[in-house]
């Protein structure tokens, strides 16, 4: 499986500011995803990061709040904009596993723990 790193691993931010989270993969991957995990909760998909085009957002998530970049096949960023305490969560990126399978597997980065004061 791919090795995935995220920066920063954690941050404490002030209300109204923005934070950009980076996700780096050690190999080229087609599919990259961003998830949110609120305290004590499961994972919710924010968007699919598409290389060379705009991200595809899930219901309840919008580009103005969570702009995503995917400049190449190994890197993506997620920005959490105009933050409020409700944005305090763990943000995780994931990548789809090796191609050639008839099914999809996802592998996750270590996550970025965000606290908004």
């Amino acid at each position: 499986s791919a090795v995935i790193s995220q920066k920063p691993s954690r941050d404490i931010c002030q209300r109204g500011t923005s934070l950009t989270i980076q996700c780096q993969v050690d190999s080229q991957v087609t599919m990259m995803f961003w998830y949110r995990q609120q305290p004590g909760q499961s994972l919710t998909l924010i968007a699919t990061a598409n290389q060379g085009s705009e991200a595809t957002y899930e219901s309840g998530f919008v580009i103005d709040k969570f702009p995503i970049s995917r400049p190449n096949l190994t890197f993506s960023t997620l920005t959490v904009s105009n933050m409020s305490p409700e944005d305090s969560s763990i943000y995780l990126c994931s990548v789809e596993g090796a191609s050639g399978r008839t099914y999809d597997e996802q592998f996750f980065g270590p996550g970025t723990r965000l606290t908004v004061l």
């Binding site: 499961s42 994972l43 998909l45 995780l92 099914y103 999809d104 270590p110 996550g111």
Partner: protein, 111 residues
Amino acid sequence: TQLLEQSPQFLSIQEGENLTVYCNSSSVFSSLQWYRQEPGEGPVLLVTVVTGGEVKKLKRLTFQFGDARKDSSLHITAAQPGDTGLYLCAGDLGNTGKLIFGQGTTLQVKP
């Protein structure tokens, strides 16, 4: 509406006991994955089940996919404190690459 219902949400047991976690849905999944997540880390993939009726074993963990591919279970035999963590099931509805997660099961195994 939760598409993938996972139960129980919390489980606290003694070392050596057996346990089963369930994931149920009214939807058919092309595949279903089980993950384990420890505090401060991302989920780690344990297994993927694809075929209806499939059973996979990973040491003391047994994973089963329902015949209709709508449900799955994880059975742990003789649980150990190292099994403590958050267990997540996640299904792919139609080879879209997008996963739908269950609510998670927080397991605590006491020595």
